[in-house]
């Protein structure tokens, strides 16, 4: 499991390689929050290489979405495979987040 991120102006792009689960969600959340504190306002999370997300990971995304909005920013999610989309649909989180097919798609108009 690893997170790689890239920062360009106020755009933070972060890729989740592996799982986003109870064991790493705090590290992930803190990484994003640190960047938001340092001025990131557009946050794009790429799940192209993500296996699965548990409820802790989903909760971390909900929490981050709130914090980013409080700072006047926006969170976009991209690259979710069919399994991950199933999780978002089951938990109705597809109504809370905009889900994009790819990072390129998410960057349009961002």
């Amino acid at each position: 499991m690893a997170f790689t991120f890239e920062r360009t102006d106020d755009l933070l792009s972060i890729a989740v390689d592996g799982q986003l689960v109870v064991g790493n969600r705090q590290e992930f959340k803190q990484l994003v929050l640190d960047q938001v504190e340092q001025g990131a306002r557009r946050v794009l999370i790429d799940f192209t290489d993500t296996g699965y997300i548990d409820s802790s990971g989903l909760g971390a995304l909900v929490s981050l979405g709130k914090r980013i909005r409080e700072h006047g920013g926006e969170l976009r999610l991209a690259g979710l495979n069919e399994d991950l989309r199933t999780l978002f649909e089951l938990t109705r989180l597809d109504t809370l987040f905009r889900l994009h097919d790819s990072s390129d798609d998410a960057r349009e108009g961002f």
Binding site: G23, D54, S55, G59, V62, S63, L90, T91, L93
Partner: protein
């Protein structure tokens, strides 16, 4: 505590059993989930079940046992018994806690504010991704996840 794994392997009955006893640390979860998913794949469960249903449900059960049941106390143990047989997959996760009202937790998913909550999706996901979820308190609190062959 190092995970104590006992694998009896596949016997003449076609039954495979995996057992662990672990300390209450979330770092222990990944190895157990990976092993059970691998056993399911070898047994012939569909790919999606091995990629989604089993890992998410089992992660939820283990995380609940470690964090809620045992309060992240590494001196308290979690026992895991996974069995694959002619019926399907059955996993029991037992902690040292007193359990909680899963019906009340599940009922919250119908509330309007549920989508905005940062927690409370674990029990819901277990029920959504498994055929059956049972809980009981005996010597500790046990969650049993059951997934029948498709």
């Amino acid at each position: 505590m190092t995970p104590a794994k006992v694998s009896r392997g596949a016997g003449d009955s076609g039954t495979s059993v995996l057992e662990w006893q672990i300390a209450s640390k979330v770092d222990e979860i990944d190895a157990i989930v990976a092993a059970v998913c691998a056993a399911c794949a070898v047994a012939g469960f569909p790919d999606k079940v091995c990629r989604l249903n089993v890992p998410v449900s089992l992660t939820e059960a283990l995380a609940n046992a470690i964090e809620q049941g045992n309060g992240n106390d590494p001196t308290r143990v979690v026992r895991v018994l996974a069995r694959i047989d002619l019926v399907g997959l059955c996993v029991e996760v037992t902690d040292e806690g007193a359990g909680f009202d899963t019906q009340a937790v599940r009922a919250r998913c119908h509330e309007q504010s549920w989508v905005d909550r940062e927690d409370g999706r674990g029990v819901f996901l277990m029920h959504a991704l498994m055929d059956n979820v049972e809980t009981w308190c005996d010597v500790g609190h046990t969650v049993r996840l059951t997934l029948r062959w498709p």
